[in-house]
């Protein structure tokens, strides 16, 4: 029972900054981010790894933070939506989501952006099929998929230095 387990000290990088915190090792990263660290951009939507709303990057790999124990973040680099833009500048993906209006209610958007960012790190020139296959686990109830695909393609072009 982790709730009554001893707390341990953890150190990891979060959006470029070193974080030291004491907590139970089995707690899911999602709740540590949202509660202990008050970074609420990462969303709870299904809690069981079926929807992708809680996607963050750990050492550049997309993970479902509702299923990712804190202990596995030890010594690693975590990226959340709050760290996607740099120095007040939006990331090209964020720009592209705005330009294509690739969101409605916006609740799934942070998870979509992080999932797309992880994809573009590995595959700077994804086909539509690559995007669909990679993003298949991210759900958008408002039904913005068509525009999200377009936005990812636009961002990919921008990041490759082509005209968007």
């Amino acid at each position: 029972m982790w709730g009554i387990q001893m707390e341990k000290n953890f150190r990891f990088k979060l959006n470029g900054k070193t974080i030291d915190l004491a907590s139970s090792p089995e707690r899911m990263l999602l709740w540590v981010l949202r509660s202990d660290l008050e970074l609420t951009g990462t969303k709870y939507s299904c809690g069981e790894g079926f929807c992708g709303a809680c996607t963050v990057l750990v050492d550049n790999e997309p993970v479902l933070s509702c299923q990712f124990p804190l202990k596995e973040a030890e010594g690693k680099e975590v990226l959340t939506i709050e760290g996607l833009g740099k120095n007040g500048e939006l990331h090209p993906l964020q720009d592209a989501f705005m330009q294509h209006n690739a969101l409605q209610c916006g609740f799934c958007t942070p998870g979509m952006l992080l999932g797309a960012y992880a994809l573009l790190l590995k595959n700077p020139e994804p086909s539509t099929k690559d995007i669909v296959d990679t993003m298949e686990g991210n759900l958008c109830r408002c039904g913005s998929y068509k525009r999200i695909i377009q936005a990812i393609q636009t961002a990919a072009r921008t990041m490759r230095g082509e005209r968007p």
């Binding site: 009554i4 709740w31 509660s35 709870y44 809690g47 069981e48 209610c105």
Partner: protein, 700 residues
């Protein structure tokens, strides 16, 4: 009671105190439903919204409507900016805050732009007239020589002579109530309204800064998890909470029927809840998704006539061919991205509530009642709402959070898990539609007899030229007939009705030996409907044949509360695994004057995509009061790979006032896909969703 005898909880003067100085214009929306509700509840009947030009020149619109993704945050701002001649980025929408906004009945039914927009325009025109008047006094220039542009009023001949709205509003406290209607701009002169406009809330949403209810943090707040029965109808028999108490920092509350575990971390509260040993009295029910339709039929009441014309018996005598079919749909969940959440903070005799709700004023009344507070001592603030679709008209989590805040003396958040969301959702009702209809010798529909069991009657009025028809509702949406909560679901009633009606029409087209488009045009006088059909067909660009042609083309059209639309789909049915792939969907919609073409297209695309869920997979399975679908592993909603090629046509109709667009296009999805599947395989699907199992059964 005379109108001036009403007791107003907050009158205009009190609102003015709250909003501070500037120029304020009150106005009343023309939504008949909202007006009635406001009267019933003792709110002022003479205004329900206002706008303010502040001393900084920014314009604020205060409305009890809420933003849940549908985009009125942007479209209403466009209407205001247009009429007031201010840049769009100078407009602030203040929405769903019961302290700052006058009463509103709730955000649903695609009513916001339709009913709120036109009076907002009038109010903005009034504000502009006041500003011109003030500028005339300050600049010593005759009003007729003054022009307003982008928040500045200047002399037409001498543009150096100018004054800004900000300067005019400074030190002013002007209150106007709109009585005479100043002229509004003809749509031809619009430069902001009618132009494709990006969402004004997008930046907050792509940076993670946008706050939803669950994102609000208060010092000392606790997260509550509440003990739930495993099934509807089960009651608590015994409970042992001692193990849960072992967790450090946990608070356990037992109050009447509620047992809650609270902790500063939500996951710890959840963990502690799991340690509670609770026994429930089992509940036996014969109802499940196999038996539900028989139960519904047996629960039918004597039918209320929704609409009728001519004499159905006479129509039957005139028929050369008759058709008698029954259509079914199962329970469907709202499944909003953001599960219901609420945070309540009580300080002294005042409560502040943050809630994911479509009805902040309803929440205010419920919280006031449960706390024993006067309504004006409860403030409901509506942050961004992550989908609603009608599912957030109700929200028991708000009352639960209020009770727990009172009992603990701390701010308390109740945020439902996905499982709770599926358990307490007010599902779209399972329903049955019986249709008898007939064609005469010239392939005209001569009679139509429609029995609606619990879908709700919206969109059940025939729009074809039928001389003899009768539409009966056999008991509304059913209420307690259903084994759990049901309610309005995006396009309530219409999804089921359009599925049945337009499937029936397709069957008649085949019997008439005509293709689906030809047959509809043959039976339609309504010019608007003919126009959307032609527009969709033109965009689709391929010709229909009499079904089943093997091509997999489907067509459906409807009138949703004044918005007309026609949808065409192209599908492939895989005969090996009975799966349907939707390749392309074209939708032509006449929504009257279009305020934000980009916003309307987004809504149509969203409707089409979301609608595929209830076509193919979305069906709540249940047994003995248990909801068997508890998450997205078994309750499948549309995903990236489902996305067809989507094309939207906005049929120009600017002379007609703007109509709603958040729901209409989803209502035709069941029919258009069923018709396309029929065209592909020659088997008609009478039940939604059209799962591979049902298609396989039809094929065998």
């Amino acid at each position: 009671m005379k109108e001036d005898e009403y007791h107003f909880t907050l009158d205009r003067r009190e609102f003015l105190k709250l909003v501070g100085s500037g120029i304020v214009v009150f106005f009343t929306t023309g939504d008949p439903f909202a007006l009635q509700q406001r009267r019933d509840r003792g709110y002022p009947a003479d205004f329900n919204a206002y706008l303010r030009i502040g001393e900084d020149g920014r314009v604020s619109c205060f409305t009890g409507k809420i933003e849940m993704g549908q985009g009125i945050h942007t479209s209403l701002a466009q209407m205001l900016a247009e009429e007031l001649d201010v840049p769009l980025d100078k407009v602030d929408m203040v929405m769903g805050d019961t302290d700052l906004c006058p009463y509103d009945g709730g955000t649903f039914g695609s009513r916001s732009t339709k009913y709120f927009g036109p009076p907002l325009r009038q109010a903005a025109a009034e504000a502009r007239a006041i500003l011109i008047q003030l500028a005339s006094e300050r600049l010593q220039v005759d009003q007729k020589n003054l022009v307003a542009k982008e928040g500045v009023i200047f002399h037409q001949q001498n543009p150096q002579k100018k004054i800004s709205y900000a300067q005019l509003a400074q030190g002013k406290k002007i209150e106007r109530h709109l009585e005479e209607k100043p002229p509004i701009k003809p749509y031809r002169n619009h430069t902001v309204s009618g132009r494709p406009t990006d969402r004004m809330d997008a930046r907050q949403k792509v940076t993670g800064e946008a706050k939803f209810t669950g994102d609000i943090r208060l010092p000392g707040m606790l997260h509550a998890k509440i003990l739930r029965p495993p099934a509807h109808g089960e009651t608590l028999k015994s409970v042992i909470v001692s193990a849960a108490k072992e967790i450090e920092g946990v608070t356990i509350i037992q109050d009447e029927d509620m047992i809650a575990v609270l902790h500063k971390y939500p996951d710890m509260a959840e963990q502690a809840l799991g340690l509670i040993d609770a026994r429930f009295e089992p509940f036996r029910s014969k109802l499940d998704n196999q038996t539900i339709f028989r139960h519904l039929k047996n629960s039918a009441q004597e039918g209320d006539v929704v609409t009728e014309k001519g004499n159905v018996e006479e129509g039957k005598r005139l028929s050369a061919k008759t058709f008698d079919k029954t259509y079914y749909n199962h329970y469907v969940a709202h499944a909003p991205s953001e599960p219901h959440a609420a945070l309540v903070n009580i300080e002294g005799n005042k409560a502040t509530v943050w809630a994911s709700t479509q009805s902040p004023f309803r929440a205010q009344a419920e919280v006031a009642q449960v706390l024993g507070f006067p309504q004006e001592k409860v403030r409901v603030i509506t942050p961004f709402v992550g989908c609603g679709f009608g599912g957030k008209n109700q929200g028991y989590q708000i009352v639960e959070a209020a009770r727990l805040a009172k009992l603990t003396g701390k701010p308390v958040q109740v945020a439902w898990s996905r499982k709770e969301e599926f358990f307490y959702d007010t599902f779209r009702p399972a329903a049955i539609i019986d249709i008898k209809s007939g064609l005469d010798g010239s392939n005209k529909i001569v009679f139509w007899e429609y029995r609606n069991y619990f879908a709700g009657d919206r969109s059940s009025q025939p729009f074809y030229d039928i001389p003899h028809f009768r539409v009966l509702s056999m008991g509304g949406r059913g209420g307690s007939v259903h084994p759990f909560g049901t309610g309005a679901w995006r396009g309530p009633g219409s999804n089921t009705n359009v599925f049945a009606m337009e499937s029936q029409v397709d069957g008649m087209a085949e019997a008439a030996g005509m293709d689906p488009l030809e047959f509809r045009l043959h039976n339609l006088d309504d010019e608007r409907m003919r126009r959307v059909l032609m527009a969709a067909a033109e965009k689709f660009g391929k010709s229909f044949s009499r079904a089943p042609s093997g091509k997999g083309y489907g067509l459906a059209c409807t009138d949703y509360l004044g918005t007309y639309l026609a949808t065409i789909a192209e599908v492939d049915v895989n005969k090996n695994n009975s799966e349907v792939r939707v390749k392309r969907v074209v939708c032509a919609q006449d929504t009257g004057e279009v305020i934000n073409p980009e916003g309307v297209r987004m809504q149509i695309e969203g409707c089409i995509t979301m609608g595929l869920g209830y076509c193919f997979t979305e069906e709540i399975r249940f047994s003995n009061g248990r909801i068997l679908d508890e998450n997205f592993d078994t309750y499948e909603i549309p995903r990236f790979s489902w996305t067809p090629q989507i094309e939207t046509v906005l049929v120009d109709n600017p002379e007609m006032p703007p109509q709603g667009c958040g729901e209409p296009a989803i209502t035709s999805m069941g029919a258009v896909i069923a018709n396309a599947v029929y065209d592909a395989i020659g088997k008609r699907m009478f039940t939604l969703p059209m799962t591979p199992d049902r298609i396989k059964e039809a094929l065998s």
